[in-house]
Amino acid sequence: MIPELGHFTLVLALLVALVQGSLPMLGAARGRADWMAVARPAAFLQCAATVLAFAALTWAYVVSDFTVLNVVQNSHSAKPMLYKVTGVWGNHEGSLLLWVLILTIFGAAVAGFGRNLPPSLKARVLGVQAWVAIGFFTFMLFTSNPFERIWPAPLDGNDLNPLLQDPGLAFHPPLLYLGYVGFSIAFSFAIAALLEGRVDPAWARWVRPWTLAAWTFLTGGIALGSWWAYYELGWGGWWFWDPVENVSFMPWLLGTALLHSAIVVEKRDALKVWTILLAILTFSLSLLGTFVVRSGLLTSVHAFAVDPTRGLYILLLLVIAAGGSLALFAWRAPSLKAGGLFAPVSREGGLVLNNLLLATATATVLLGTFYPLFVEAFTGGRLSVGPPYFNATFLPIMLPLVAVMAVGPMMAWKRADLAGVLGRLKFVALAAVLAAAATWYIQEGGPVLAALAMGLAVWLFLGTLWELGERVRLFRVPAGDSWRRARGLPRAAWGMSLAHAGLAVAMAGMIGSSAWKQEEVRVVRPGDEVALGGYSFRFDGAQRIQGPNYLSDTAPLTLLRDGRELGTLYPERRFYPVQEMHTTQAAIRTNGLYDLYAVIGDPQPGGAWTLRLYLEPLVPWIWFGAAFMALGGLVSLSDRRLRVGAPRKAAKAAAQPAPAE
């Protein structure tokens, strides 16, 4: 009964979305306030109905209702409760439901907090949101209904892919989706602005927090996914330039650009058309990310749907969403009035450069990711684009960006004195050169790029601190005054500093783990010791252990340094009988500076095991850095200027009537 209720509420949500997508839009076009007012209650109702549908599916998973096909295919009665719940979105149908759930919640949030939005803008934003939701609702109801029944009901389910039974991955999709869907708000605002024919700083003040929130979630989601790949796949790598990683990374890159260009619209009333275009492209890439991965076009653990009707529907949705909005852009964008002027060397100029580099980097990733698909479609040949391509194209674009990042925040709006700024940064530059030289010396002929990049990371980190120090006039005025100044700085400034410094820290981690990783593969028998990086690992024989829904071969490794026991690592190899699948559980011991990483492979004849050990320098810094970046986003979000509903200036601007142009 409950699954039927879920199905019913899903249909209800679609119908409400149809009303929300049409009546308020018409109302905004004809200036009828009563029609526009429908949007708000409709957004709430649509959200409530979707929450009920999601709750119904969750209930079916929690009680293991094996009359529901989706539960049969992705759950098992012996699965731990955490994975029963997270299994709801660990599959194609359920993940779509989660997507649309977040979409409707965000829609309701706009409706709830948007009291001081101009009514026609609000009606149009909610209308566009409804159309996005309609696309997803119809896709689910017509091709991937999560509530489909199966008769006769089997005794037990097929279980969730064991690779997905992991706490890190359990929360990776929701975070990622919060990011993707967050960009839908920026998209809806962009389309609404095109329809209104008007973009002003108040508009940017609304778009910025949503973009910031989406960016923060996406940062967290990508970092979590990368962390999962690091400890779960057992290859000791954290980024593989795999297509599924790339499609989540592209919206992040463009979203970062959008975040920065929205600042220019807000502060200087310039770059409006470009910002609108970025908002459209970022969300289109988010859709592409969701859909291409789900459609099975690119092979991966995430690829669930292989049904050709789904693929076609997905393609159609993408064409309508991206193509339609770009056509609207081409038609309406020329009518937007251009704003403030600025010299090439200025804060705006720096942000334009940031945008150009980020957009170019996105383009190269896009090309590398989809090139194999094009080749296959046109010639039938099979090929793949490996990580060396991405390293060779992406890094030369990103390194200049990092170089500019330290300078940009110190430049003045409108017209800046580049020589003066560089002069203020001379000590930072000196430190960066010293760091690069020291790295070069320590690594004894290692890659040149590593030394160069390390110098840039130090440049960015210290440059960011220096900018903060100048702002609070550290060491120039008494410490108490500096403290007062620091407290008086807007939260957005703190957020920027945290995020920029976080990127520098993460960068150092990426360089360290790519350039100086040590690796050892050996076949070991009980009692054998393997040495790596000054440590010694003693293999004491493998044990078989029974887990809740798996069998585990655990190989305790005693960690020794100079003959002293430091502790034990427990790398595991698990076997999941329901899916007949093996998974690797790496054992990781970290000291904050480097990780010791141990994996066992297959049993060898005579009680021996393959053992693979890594010493991963600076890897933990990647996650620290990512955490700092996400924290920076959160701090910036708490800025009173951006606090939803609070902005005084926005209220003033919104109070003006919105003339149609």
Binding site: G234, T299, F342, V385, A392, T393
Partner: protein, 155 residues
């Protein structure tokens, strides 16, 4: 600075960026495209030895040998041709005899494939799509033959 000049500068800078990116991408493409070969392809149009490439097919039943020192040898087949493969390292969790595999590495003059990476691209259906394709071309892939996905394709 007039609006027009500013716009021209931005456009110029954008073109410069795109041009640089295109140049980078083209040079990177030249060296880093990995072409996929089935065992039959290797026999009919052998690539130059030493070039990095990918092969894929089914791990032949009973062909897996371990030397006890961490190296493995196995044969990859599409049931028309067979390639011997050596690999040093830990085989991925999904590696099994009689199931699909993709390996990345180089071909020696003697026709031995030295794998640097063995991929079981964490796919839940055990059958990399390139392999399914190659088998279909060799005329031996029967989706109903039980070797295929252990679960329905959903929907």
């Amino acid at each position: 600075m007039t609006r027009k000049r500013r716009r021209m500068m931005v456009v110029g800078l954008g073109l410069l960026c795109l041009g640089a990116a295109a140049a980078l991408a083209l040079t990177a493409f030249e060296d880093n495209l990995l072409f996929f070969y089935s065992p039959s392809d290797l026999h009919s149009e052998a690539p130059p030895p030493g070039r990095m490439l990918r092969i894929g097919g089914i791990v032949e039943e009973g062909s897996l040998e371990r030397d006890g020192e961490g190296s493995v040898a196995f044969r990859v087949t599409d049931f028309a041709s067979t390639v011997p493969v050596t690999y040093r390292g830990i085989l991925p969790d999904l590696f099994r005899e009689g199931q699909g595999v993709v390996a990345q590495g180089r071909l020696t003059d003697a026709g031995l494939f030295q794998a640097e990476e063995v991929l079981a691209r964490h796919d839940e259906n055990y059958m990399p799509s390139e392999v399914a394709d190659a088998l279909e071309r060799a005329g031996v892939w029967r989706p109903e033959s039980g070797e295929g996905p252990p679960r329905g394709s959903g929907g």
